[in-house]
Each structure stands twice: as C-alpha cells, then as structure tokens.
Symmetry: C4
Subunit: 231 residues, 4 copies
C-alpha cells in the first residue's frame, strides 16, 4: 500500500540523519498522498539504522491506523493538523536539530540576516507562544499543530513561502510541496539558524536585511519569474 | 567468563567513540551482572582501536580483579560505588565529552530549557561540589562516587529519572538500566548540554521550561503511561 | 570544447563540497580560459552528487552561452565582471560557507589576527557596502561584481594579494591564478574567519597583528623571495 | 637512511590530519634520532595526500640538509632550537589547530580548568610574548624557537611536564619523548583549549582548578606513582 510514498518517506527520514539533523531517534518525516488523503509517517522510536521502507506507517487524516505493523510517530497528530490546515503541503519534517532547537528554547524567531535565508524563507521564521497548561495536559500533539497554525494566522504568514516554524521550548517543524523539499527546508533552516545565532552574538544590534534584497533573492528561486536552477 | 556482558561492554565503549564522545582514551563504560554481582569494565588506558571484547576486565564490587589480563579503568572505584548505591543501575559511562565537561569545569548544572532535555532527564542535571583536599588525596575515585551519591541525596533526586551527573572540575557520569541506555544517556546529555550552553549565551535570563512540559515529555517516554516508541 | 578546463572546474566545485564549504547547492566555481577568453562555470542549481564534468557550462565574457546543455550559475554575471576587472585572475569561487557568510551578514571585515591570515591574505579581507535598491532591482549579479571592484578600488587593494571579499548581506567570493588556488583561498578564508570570530568574541579589544609579522608571513609564501614550499 | 624514523614521522604527520588538526598544509611534525643527532621532518608545503614516508627530510641540528629530495619545513629552525634546548624531547609538532591558534591570536594562556587539562599538562599552557621587529626581520624561525625557550625559562616551567606552548599571533607547538606523544599532546591541547574557551565565555570569573586536583590527575598518569594505564 502506497509503496512509492513509503519509499520516499523512508529515504526522507534517512536523509535527516545524513544531514546531521537527527540524534538518536529525535526526528520524523511524513508525506501526504493527495489522491487518497492518507499520510505515510515514520514509526515511533524505531532506530534509523534498523528501519526499512516497509516499516513506514499509513494513517488517515483523523489518525486512524490504516496500514503498518508499528505505531506511528508520537508527533503524528501535529503532522495531520498541518496537512489539514496548510494547503499544498505534502511533506512535513520534525527534528530537534541543534541550532533551530536552540532558537526554540530561547523563544526567539530567526530573522533574515542574509541572502541564504532569503533564498529559502521569505521573511522571519516565527517562534510560537508557549502552550498553556491545559493545552499541554490534553491533546498535546494536536495543540502543537494548532499553535503553529495560530502563529501563521496571527502574523499573516503564508506557510509555503515560510515553510518552517520553531515550536517554543521544543524544536522546528518544516514542510514543503513534497517530502524532499521539506527535508531541504530543514537543512536550510539549520544553516540559517546557526549563522543568525553567530551574527546576533557578535553584533547584537544587527538589522535584518532590507525588503528589496529579501524580494530579490526569494524571487530568484521562487514563483513565475524565478531564474535560479534549470527549468 | 561473562562473555555476553563483555561483548556488550566492549560495544558500549566503541559506541562512545562513534558518537564522538571520546578523545584519545578519555572514557570508560561498564556493566553489572546482577546474578553474580560482578562488574565488567574497560581496561585502563587501552586504545579503542586495538581493544577486543576479550580485553574487558571483570572485578567484584569490592574492586578485586576476578578475570582479565589488564588492569581495570582507573575510575573503577567510582563505578563500583554507584552500582552499590543506585538500585537498578546496571550500566555506567564516564567520558570527558566536550559540552558536559564544559559545564563540569564551569561548575554549573544543566537546566532543562527544552523538551529534548525533558525526554531524557526529569529535571536539572546536577553538578557536584568540589572535593576537599582530603577527599582528593586518599581514595580519590571512591570519593568521586561518594560526592555523586551525596549530590543526589542532598537534592533528593532519583538516579533513574535523572541518569547523569557532572563531577565538578572533571566531567560527566551517566548510567541506566543497562549499558546501552547509559550510552544513550551520554549522547543525550552531550546534546542538551550544548544546546543549554548556547541558549544561556544568547539569552542569559532564560528560564527553564515549566513543570507541565517537563512532566508531559518525560512521561511520554517513561513509566506506565508512556506512549512513545513501540511496546 | 575546453574539455580540460571543464574537468578542472568540475573538480574544483566538488572540492568545495569535500571541504565542507557548500550546503545543498549553495556555491559555484568557474575558470577562465585565457587563450579563448571563455569561462567555464557550474550549471545553476544542479546537485553536486549528480553533476558530471561534461555538465559544466561555457560562456563568453559577455555572458553568451557558448556550449553546454544547462543554464550557467545564476551568479555568472558576477564572475564575468571580476574576470574583466581583475587582471591575472583565472579562477573564481562563490560559496555561502558558514563563517565567511557570518561576517558578510554582520557587515564586518575580517582583520588579520594571526599568521594563518598573513600566510594567505596580505591584510584585511574587506566587506562591501550594501547595494542600493536600484542596484538590486536591475542587473543585481552584475552590480554585485561592480561593488566588489569598487571596494578594492576605494581601499586601494590588490586583488591578487587579497584574493577574497565579503559581499554584504550575502557571502564570500574568492579567486586566484587558477581554480585550485581560488578553492584553497576559500578554505583559508573560512578558517581565518572562524578564528577571527572567536578571537573577537573572547577579546573584543584585540588588535590586528603588526605589519612586520604580516609582511614576514605573506612574503614567506608569495613573491620573489618566498621560501615556503618547493620550487 | 633513518628509514624507521621517517616512517614514524610520516605517520605522525598523517595523524595530525586524521585528528582534524591540520587544514591544507598548515602543520609539520618532526622526530629526533638520538644516536645520530639527526632530525627527520616534513618537507615544506607538500600536500599530505601525496606525501610518502620516503619524502621526509633529514637535517642535522645546525639545519644542514643531510638526506631527502625536498626542502625541509620552513619551520625547521624552530624545531631544531627546541631539540637543542629541551632535554629528552624527541618529537615536535606544529599546527595551526583552531582552538590553540585562537588562544595564540588572542595572546592568552590556557589555564587548567579541569582534570582533562591536568591529565596532560601540569599547569597553564603559556603564550609567548610578541616578537620584536628585529626578531621578525632576521632569523624569524630561530627567534620563534628562542622566544619559546625564554617563556619556559621566565616562568620556570619544565617542558616535559608542560609539553606545549602558544606562540603569540601564530599558533601552537607541542612536543614529547617521541613523536606519538607529541601528536597526542597536540590532540589534548586542542581539546582543552576549546573547553577553556567555552568555560571562559560562559563564566569569565572562573578560577583554575586547585593545585591538589592538578597534582592528583597529573601524577595519576605521570611519574613513579602513576597508576593510569597498563605497565
């Protein structure tokens, strides 16, 4: 069932390890099959070195187990909520990658300080508010998804032009039009977060880049007039 | 003798190298055989690249050499004291891993600033007091064990829910229900120590996460109601 | 066409990956064929792992596509302007390497704090001014080249004795008498930028090294009286 | 000629690369043959990946070329002066390893903040004064050796119990009773320098460890009563 997507989700999860974004089992990636509305996701707590493509778990958007011998990732409810609320998102990644997690723990958004950021994210990568005790006690993972959506709504951000968020006290989620793009966004987030940290440390009064540079670099790579890469 | 445990202890020691927790020969891991009350530990000063499973040393809880052609780790007395005083601990790891050692040298506990910490450690990872000159002069390694136990008693901490300590001026010890868990706790400690360092550096007034998040993440992974991983 | 130079440019690009200077596809290297006045450069947005020597693109100094099945790097106009204005430069490298990019984002030149710097760069590595909105809107990549040349002219710097620049908000360009030297200068820039960052962080009042040491080390390796290496 | 020592010096140089202490060709290691009073050293500017054991160069203590098809390291005069002045030193290593070089550039000694330091160095690792313009202009490399010896004499330090120095503005030299120990001291220096940097950054008022701990750890590993390792 969904053999091709399982393979992609499996490879996307392994790529997180290769890119040094995952320690132990601290990460999970999923993909949405648009036709069936089903989601393929990493099994919970299974070691990356033992895992096979066939171990990926299939759930529906309500979280019902459809196929697979394992329990899905404990963060599945967060993934599902994002698929429901963010149109055109078909791949999601969660990690505890070092620099993105440091910003999450410090409760600070990642501002765009250079063109590397602008090439991938069309503005600041926001950090959510802290969940309330009630949101933590019940349906914690669903509420994590909700606070992400709330953050994007409050700031009036487009999830596809800023395909990443920092969950306060926790760590990053990234997404994209497919799982490969979601993984690349995790890689890009980690790189820009590290550089932002170092820029802020050596120059605490640094300003984000101006909108014209942000526009230039973002639209070099995205949209109808993009001219980066091959068509 | 204790062939299976020797193999596990051997692999646990090598895993420390793979996880970049050990420079030169600065680390040692041991395992307790509950039935016989014997401990298998790395030989002292032997290079990880030359070492074989059969080179592991067997001692009893009083430190008597039971089996092996080498002298046991110079830190053996610390391991033995912890096995005696911390019930259900059956694997212990000592390293000079970079970030945990930096906190040990700075004499600062690692506070929980995020869910990565809460997933593995149910509260701050304490730093011991400095040993007195008398404690250093005689039975230094035993006294290192004693100051660890004293730290947990003074703070009323449960060693199995906080399976790590920072020995002041020195470096970390971690432990667990078996040597694999003790090694994983070393990996987790190093990751959370590095992130805590960076969070503190960029935001010196940062607060630890609130108890409700600490509870949520710790109990997602531990105890009767854990729902992370496969059962 | 230009088979030998394509191979060198291909290997130069791969060396950037091996030296950890490139994340995803964030980098490009080129070489100038002096005889024909043609430039060989990396294709835009092509993954380093899939790329072959034969995928390199040949353009003339006006940017016309001469040979190749791909579009050239989106930064081609910057490379071409530097080849036109900087005599004897026959290899150029652009990356978003971490530490050089951090200085670019902070808008700070890299001062010479030690002999490692002096061995490769005969003085500070300058950071350009920020481009104006007009320069960004039209011919952005050409204007990037122009602001680099302007920086060297304003500071009266010799591009061959300081074969590197930090483009403000963006990242580094390096160059040399051939592509191998340009790549080595990227490696050296990254190393001296990281060390400069750390020196500045721990000692904000540190002074650059004095001119006599700068001279000594630079001329040990460069010019008629060099005595480093084999002749 | 001196085939065995050439092999050891060759392997010592390669070990510097494996231990990530060398970028490009920024390092050199040598060994002294006590019987003949000859020194085997890396050739100048030769790439580590192309180098063979037979490429090592033999010089006498006055710097005369005795054997080899290459010129010796440009730092040879520094090595030779240390062999003459530091009894029992039979291996010397020079690198621009990152953290030791950062301290050299900041002009700060590395204080002992923990037992990792004490295990290898019996006190602070000193930083030399800056050379005078005259010392730089003539016999620079010899004067580098002289300022190292001066530093140890002024501070009344024993080179074998503190087998490392930071040359101001430049980088570290380490040594030992043989080239393997000299290389290990480079590894240890780099590790303790990085940790010292981070300890100082997060706690600028931190004190060095007390003498009793320094003694304990140093004499666990060195001298007649050492009990670390196998005998």
């Amino acid at each position: 069932m969904l053999k091709e997507l399982k393979e992609k989700v499996f490879l996307g999860n392994l790529e997180l390890v290769k890119q040094n974004l995952v320690t132990l089992t601290w990460g999970n990636a999923s993909g949405l099959d648009e036709k069936s509305g089903l989601v393929v996701i990493k099994p919970s707590g299974v070691s990356y070195s033992d895992m096979q493509a066939d171990d990926m778990v299939v759930v529906d958007l309500e979280g019902n187990l459809i196929d697979g011998k394992y329990k899905p990732s404990s963060d599945t409810a967060t993934h599902l909520h994002l698929y429901k609320k963010f149109p055109n998102v078909k791949g999601i990644v969660h990690t505890h990658s070092k620099w993105a997690t440091i910003f999450s723990q410090a409760g600070i958004s990642v501002q765009p300080y250079g063109t590397t950021h602008a090439d991938h994210f069309f503005g600041e990568i926001p950090c959510t508010r802290v969940l309330t005790d009630e949101e933590i006690a019940d349906n914690y993972e669903l509420n994590t998804g909700k606070v992400i959506v709330e953050t994007f709504e409050n700031l009036n951000l487009d999830p596809l032009s800023i395909p990443a968020v920092l969950v306060n006290n926790h760590g990053p989620f990234t997404w994209g039009e497919n799982i490969i793009k979601a993984v690349h966004n995790s890689v890009a987030l980690e790189a820009v977060a590290e550089m932002a940290y170092m820029v802020l440390s050596i120059n605490p009064s640094v300003h984000p880049i101006k909108q014209t540079i942000l526009d230039k670099h973002y639209y070099r790579k995205h949209g109808a007039n993009a001219y980066y890469g091959q068509r």
